[in-house]
């Protein structure tokens, strides 16, 4: 049932610098996770995207959230009922 989603997550992982990826539903339940992103992060990722959306309720599009650390960035985006998170290594300058 999840083969298609798994394929897309694998394709995302094959991009340069991508350390992990996660897909969650509107209940905060993990639909799929690969690499460095744990399935347990699904709830928090969904909640973060909901909260960020509340910052500008008039906006038609859901915001992209970037959580940056020294070595990597976690990017979160919600689209309809699905929230995606991509953990990417920072390219050294």
């Amino acid at each position: 049932m999840e083969k298609e989603l798994d394929k897309h997550l694998e394709e995302t992982m094959s991009n340069h610098g991508v350390l992990g990826t996660l897909c969650a539903d509107h209940h905060g339940m993990c639909l799929g996770a690969k690499g460095s992103v744990s399935t347990e992060a699904a709830g928090m990722v969904t909640r973060l995207s909901e909260l960020a959306g509340q910052l500008d309720p008039s906006s038609e599009e859901d915001p992209i959230i970037c959580v940056e650390s020294d070595a990597s960035t976690l990017m979160i985006k919600k689209h309809d009922d699905i929230t995606m998170a991509i953990h990417k290594a920072k390219v050294p300058t």
């Binding site: 969650a24 209940h27 905060g28 339940m29 993990c30 347990e40 709830g43 928090m44 909640r47």
Partner: protein, 124 residues
Amino acid sequence: MAEDLKRYIFRLMSKVDGLYGIAITDRDGVPVLKVSNENAPELALRPGFLVTFSMAADQGSKMGLGKNQRIVCMYSAYQVVHFNKAPLMVTLVANSTANTGMILSLEDELTDALQDLRQAVDVA
């Protein structure tokens, strides 16, 4: 100690929007500790309701998939999440729109809090 634990559990409750109550019971549904706010449905925190999850967890462990660890029940107005922490059972009651993933992520923190309570129900 009981008051400290209640306060801790109440703080955990406030971490998730829409989480109305947490009940820690023994296998028979007898409440060991119960924390709830005014939105919690009173019937969902009664022993008669809570013991059904204990029975469901026992049955779930007989399906050849290993020990049943968690049960999530979605209703139209509420959701009930149940952690099997034998000999204790932890039941969380929340709004149906609450973030289920966040509720499930409370498990580790609740497990730490349960260590002292275990001794109250452990049979030697």
